[in-house]
């Protein structure tokens, strides 16, 4: 099967940005915050990374700058969601809209230039693919085997109880949001440096939202996030192989597959209200106002 290897390869590459973004948001949501601004942060990361790489700097510098830029954007969200305790859905959407605007404005200079991609290392895959898997494993270990991970889960379940014991809820949530931002920036950088080393407006094409859905589908568990990302990676790549199999399906239908698949997957996991209730961080998306 000469097609199997490229298919697998393609799946892993397509899954990588999803894993980064979803793992980041998983940590954020475990702490009890919902950040709908993943798409915006990814775009900021993508634009920044592309710009830095275009300026002749090495790829890893571009990636780091992209992560910093996205972290800054995430901090803006954090100030509103934590400091002012505003509606988190609205704040996240504001971040997405702002991020998409900023990336388009930055991207106006790029034209049709391309950047040298990150070199491949093992089995024809770049190092970030492996880093994504390592990250998932690391986050699993953090959540289940360390006290810090336990504290994070406690904060997400009952922030008032956590505060009563003496844990700084706001600070913990801020750190989680910052981590989520860095991961989304990393995902965006991967898109513009590896996935499509050209600049296209709104190049994330809804991947930030798919990552959001992945977190729900995975019931907030890192291992399942990887499985889900592979599933979506496969679906995304499938459209490229459709023609090879002689399928005469309009391109738009194939392009719509990931989005339809996301809906189906969400329905599947949400159907049983018990499952959802048992696994959802109890305080998710509720503004936290500590009593003095």
């Amino acid at each position: 099967m000469s097609l199997l290897l490229p298919l697998l390869n393609g799946t892993l590459v397509a899954a990588t940005p999803l894993i980064f973004a979803a793992i980041g948001e998983l940590i954020v949501e475990r702490s009890g915050v919902m950040n709908l601004g993943i798409e915006g942060m990814m775009l900021i990361g993508a634009a920044t990374a592309f710009g830095v790489a275009l300026g002749g700097h090495p790829a890893f510098v571009a990636v780091i700058v992209a992560m910093l830029a996205a972290t800054l954007a995430a901090s803006l969200f954090a100030i509103l969601a934590l400091g002012f305790a505003v509606n988190q859905y609205a704040a996240g959407l504001a971040l997405t809209i702002l991020g998409s605007g900023i990336s388009a404005v930055i991207g106006r200079r790029f034209g049709a230039s391309s950047v040298t991609s990150i070199p491949k290392v093992l089995f024809g895959l770049d190092p970030l693919v492996y880093m994504a898997l390592a990250l998932a494993a690391l986050v699993w270990w953090f959540l289940n085997r360390t006290r810090a991970g336990l504290v994070l889960r406690a904060v997400g379940e009952a922030p008032h109880s956590a505060r009563a014991i003496g844990y700084p809820v706001i600070r913990i949530r801020y750190l989680a949001i910052v981590f989520g931002g860095a991961m989304a920036g990393l995902a965006g950088a991967y898109l513009s440096l590896v996935y499509t080393p050209l600049w296209v407006d709104d190049m994330s094409a809804g991947r930030g939202w798919i990552a959001q859905a992945l977190v729900v589908f995975a019931t907030w568990r890192p291992g399942r996030v990887v499985l889900g990302a592979w599933l979506f990676g496969g679906v995304t790549v499938a459209q490229l192989f459709a023609q090879t199999f002689g399928l005469h399906v309009p391109t738009q239908f194939m392009s719509a597959l990931p989005y339809v698949a996301t809906i189906l997957v969400l329905v599947a996991i949400s159907r049983n209200p018990q499952t959802l209730r048992l696994n959802t961080p109890l305080s998710l998306a509720q503004p936290f106002r500590p009593d003095r």
Binding site: T146, L150, R153, E157, G166
Partner: protein
Amino acid sequence: MRPRLALEAVTKRYGSFAANDSVSLTVAPGEIHAVLGENGAGKSTLMKIIYGAIRADAGEIFWEGREVSIASPSAARDLGIGMVYQHFSLFETVSVVDNIALVNKDRFDRVRLAARITQLSERYGLPVDPHRLVHHLSVGERQRVEILRCLLQSPKLLILDEPTSVLTPPAVARLFEVLRALAAEGCSILYISHKLEEIRQLCDTATILRGGKVVGSVRPAQVSIAELAGLMVGSAIAPVTRPRAVQGAPRLSVSNLSVQPADPFGTALQDVALAVHAGEVVGIAGVSGNGQAELLNALSGERITAADRIRLDGVSVGHLGAGVRRQRGLAYVPEERLGRGAVPGMSLAENALLTGHRGGLVRRGFIGTGPIEAFAHRIIQRFGVKCSGTNAVAASLSGGNLQKFIVGREYSLAPSVLIVSQPTWGVDVAAAAFLRQSLIDLSRQGAAVLVISEELEELLEICDRIAVLFRGRLSQALPREAISIDQLGVLMTGRDLQPSAA
């Protein structure tokens, strides 16, 4: 001997309101010291200051003779102060070991910690399985975990905030044994409560708070209950009068009600039967978690059952929703006030519309602002709700006043059946007495009143008949004259249960 803890002139203000006003008290090593006061007297605030959760505005705290500043709960724990919260601060989706690990500073080692927990639990007679998830534990077991969590730090001072409100009488006795054992080993205990009989049984000294100030410090064994009550309340509250009940026709009938809980950790109702007649107040006793929530949901209509399981004035309503049952004359005061009985962000006028939309407040789909304001105003007047007007937001009212408004609203709808859950929980004594009297008055006007409460004294005060709910089964409703608190205690542990009869 140096006192373990001494507070001098501790003050805490919220705006112009002084929650604690120049409070001083002393606790000796090995002493069981009660802090007594009605709801709103400032007990919880004081404990939060001692435990480091909030900072006092003025005054000093001395620990074993040295002046200290307790900046945070972990600082308090370092000193050797442990706190068992009234509404537990445990995390449900996490195991017992992990819950205890959250306050433990040692290296994160589950196996070692689990062994220490088992050791301690055996030593003090607080059996618990370290690896179980907290949401599987009963209320009594959760309290044991809270206590063990403190004991693991080898505390020198243990604070317990209203620990017996969720316990059956036998469980209370066991708790007291544990506390006496701890005191004998030199651990001081601060015991917060408003239950006078328990304080006389257990405590060496009692400091009484009223309106944020200390009004007395006594040895409870040497003082009568009436004197303690007098110090607590300040003035005499007229006792509730309960004229003889004349039982009319049954207005609420429940038969063969079996319900599976919607919540995976709820309790299934099994073959519940009950009848509440016009002119009487029936009470259901029982510690929370025995099926009260499921029963209330089935009665109110938020959970639908088979049609003939529940009848209002003889008509089957089990299959009807909450809105329709209200139209048929059912009124309900839930135990959650903000967020369920009232919408926090809406005004009192709008909240009056929440259940008051019968009776001319809504015409052809449109809201009549005038009639709503008038209705809300009537409630405020009749029930003495302290607020800034009908446009005051529900969240701005104190707990007691909000409850007066909600009970007042349901009362003013002239219902045929009124169901009330935890009517005076968190409400100050004066308002509580007023609310209890209102419930009796309503029944004597012909309504059927059902009260579900954890406070046995309250039920004994206002009910004509009392039943006990245990693990989803309802006992027979026995007349008040024929039952004692000890018998209720026995029923609450599931023994001597008779099959239900209407």
